[in-house]
C-alpha cells in the first residue's frame, strides 16, 4: 500500500492501534567472515510508534548506525524481520524500497551529504524531482523548507559557501521537503559546536511537535538527548536499556 507512487501516502496505522510504525523482530546484522566477523546487531527487538522522538545512544561501534541504516532501507539485515507500518520490508524489491525512502523517510547525516557545487535550493529540490513534483510547486516547497530552516537569502549558496550548521540545516530542509513520516538523523550534530547543536535540536523538536514527524536520532551527548522523549542505549549490538522519559527544555 505504501508502495504506491508519489502524492498521497496512505497511513494505515497510527499510534492508537497496536501496530508500530517501525518494528524489528530478531534483527541480526553480521559484517565480514571468519576473523573479521563482526556481529553488529544481535537479535534486536524494537518497536517505534508514530510521533515518538527517540534518542539512540551508546558507545562507538555499538551498532547504532547499523540499526539506523536498516530502518532507512539503506542496508538489509542478515536475518530477522523488519516491518514498516506492518509491511515486511524484506519482501520489497529495490524499486519498492526506493519508493519507501522517497515517500516516508528523510535522512540527516553527520557528514551532511549534500551534492557538492550544487546550490542549496537545488539540493533541497532534489527529492521532489524524483517524486515527480512539477517545477513551480517544487521550487515553492523548497523555498519554504529553506525559509523554515532560517536560510532565507542562502538559496543560491553552494555547500562550500555555507558553514557546517547551515549545511546541516540545508540537509534538514532536504529531509522535510517531502513531508516524510520519519526523519532518521545519525549524529546530526556530530560536526557542530554546542550552540549550533542546540539550534538543530530545537528544529527537530519543532518538527516532532508541530508536524508530528517521528524522529530517530543518534547522539553521543546526553545534554542533547534530553530533547527526546525516549532513550535507547546500545551496547555491543544489543539494546542495553530503553526508557520513556519526560521531555525537558
Amino acid at each position: 500500500m505504501m508502495v504506491q507512487t508519489s502524492g498521497q501516502k496512505i497511513l494505515i496505522n497510527d499510534q492508537k492501534t497496536a501496530v508500530p510504525l517501525i518494528a524489528f523482530k530478531d534483527i541480526n546484522k553480521i559484517y565480514g567472515e571468519g576473523e573479521a566477523r563482526v556481529h553488529a546487531l544481535n537479535a534486536i527487538n524494537l518497536n517505534i510508534y508514530t510521533g515518538e522522538f527517540v534518542a539512540i545512544m551508546g558507545p562507538s561501534g555499538s551498532g547504532k548506525s547499523t540499526a539506523m541504516n536498516i530502518i532507512g532501507c539503506l542496508d538489509s539485515p542478515t536475518s530477522g524481520v523488519y516491518e514498516f507500518e506492518g509491511i515486511e520490508v524484506g519482501n520489497l524489491n529495490r524499486y519498492q524500497r526506493a519508493l519507501l525512502r522517497r515517500n516516508y523517510l528523510g535522512f540527516v547525516f553527520q557528514g551532511y551529504n549534500l551534492l557538492a557545487r550544487t546550490s542549496a535550493l537545488e539540493n533541497v529540490e532534489l527529492p521532489l524531482i524524483y517524486k515527480g513534483i512539477a517545477r513551480d510547486e517544487r521550487r515553492q516547497r523548497a523555498l519554504e523548507a529553506l525559509d523554515k530552516m532560517g536560510l532565507k537569502g542562502r538559496e543560491e549558496h553552494t555547500p562550500s559557501q555555507l558553514s557546517g550548521g547551515q549545511q546541516q540545516r540545508v540537509a534538514i530542509a532536504r529531509a522535510i521537503v517531502t513531508r516524510p513520516n520519519v526523519i532518521l538523523a545519525d549524529e546530526p550534530t556530530g560536526n557542530l559546536d554546542t550552540e549550533r547543536s542546540k539550534e538543530i535540536m530545537e528544529i527537530l523538536k519543532k518538527l516532532n511537535e508541530d508536524d508530528g514527524i517521528t524522529i530517530l536520532m543518534v547522539t553521543h551527548e546526553p545534554e542533547l538527548a534530553v530533547y527526546a522523549n525516549r532513550h535507547i542505549d546500545f551496547r555491543d549490538g544489543i539494546i542495553e536499556s530503553d526508557s520513556q522519559c519526560k521531555r525537558e527544555g
Binding site: 541504516n69 526506493a98 519508493l99 525512502r101 551529504n113 551534492l115 557545487r117 527529492p127 524524483y130
Partner: protein, 402 residues
Amino acid sequence: MFFETLRLAIQAIISNTMRSFLTVLGVIIGVAAVISMVTVGQGSTDQVEANVASLGTNLLMISSGRGGGPNSAGGGGTSFKLKDVDAIEDQIAKIQSAAPSSSSQVQVIFGNNNYSSSIVGTDNRYFIVRDWDLSSGREFYESEIRSGTSVCLLGQTIREELFGSGNPLGETIRLKNASCKIIGVLEEKGASSFGNDQDNVILMPIKAFHRRIAGNQDVTMIYATVRDGISTDKAKTEIENLLRERRRITTDEEDDFDVRDMKQMATMMTSVTGVLTGLLSSVAAVSLLVGGIGIMNIMLVSVTERTREIGIRLAVGASEQQVLMQFLVEAVVLSIIGGVLGIVLGLLLAYAGSIWLSIPFSPSLSIILYAFLFSAVVGIVFGYFPARRAARLNPIDALRYQ
C-alpha cells in the same frame, strides 16, 4: 519526466565544470584526429587518382633495365637508340605515336640567375604523347631536330626562376658547356604523382642533347601512346616482342627492359598512398586511444565522488532507473558536445592540411558518422557503466564509498 532527467543531467554537467570539460576534451581529441587524418589520407588518394587520369590512360612508358620508376634511367640493360623509337612507331600499328626522351640534371644560367633544372632531349612527338601544349613560342622545326640545333623550350618553373615577368623568347641561356636559344614556353603541368615538379624542365632536340649534354647516343625512356579503342595490354605485348627481337634476347632470357602502362602506375602509386593512409590511420588510432584513456582516467578519478553522489540520490528517494537514466543522458550530452566540436575541429584541420599539401579536401560522411558513433560509445561506456555499478550497490555502500 525526460525533461527532468535532462535537467538533472545538465545540472550535473554544469556543477562539475572541470570534469565535464576534460571529458569533452577527450572526445574532441579522438574525433578530430580521426576525421582530419582520414580526410587528408582520402584527399591524397584522390589527388593520385586525378594525376594518373591526367597522364592519360593510353600512355606506355618504356625504359631500359628492370623495375625502374618512370623517371629512372634504368640500370643494367643497354639503353635504347633513336632507331628503336622509330621501329616502335612504324612497325606496331597499334601505336599512334612514340617519343624518345633522355634527361639530365643541369645548372642553368641566365644573366645573374642560375637554377638547377632537368634537361630533356626529345622531339615534337613529345608534345603529343605527354599531351602538353605550348603557352607561347613554337615547337622545334624539322631541320632543328635533324641537325640537332641548340634551341629549347622552357617549363613554367624554370621560366619563372630565370626570367620572372620578362619575356624569355629569343634569349639565350647557358647549360653546362652549351648555350641554347629559347623558342617556346610550355604550359603549366603541376606536380607529378610522385611529387616532383614537372614544370622544372627544359626541352631540346634529342640530337643536340646527345652532342652537347650527354656525350652519347642513348635514349633512356620511350613514351608511346596506344591508338584509341585498342587494348594497352596487346600493344604492350607487341612492343615487348619487337624489343626482344631487336635486342636479341633468347626465349629463355628475361627482358632487360620494362614496359609500363598507367594501370600499373596507378597500382604502384595507390600502394604508396595506401601506406600513407595506413600511417595516418594509425596516428588517428593512437589519438583515439589517448582520448579514450583520458576519459577513462577522469571517470576513474571521479568514481569515488560520483559513487557518493549516487548514494545521496538513492537516499533521497531516487530509483536505480532514475539514476541510470540521468547518467546515461549526461554521458550522451557530453559525447554529443565533444563529438560535434571534434567534427568541426577535425574538418577545419583537414581543410588547412589540404590547402597546405595542395590536395583536394575530401570529407567523407561515413567517417564523420563513425567518429560520432565512437564518441557516443566512449561516453556511454566510461560514463554509464561505472554509474550502473554504483547504482546497484546498497545505498549505504555507495554513500560510504572510499
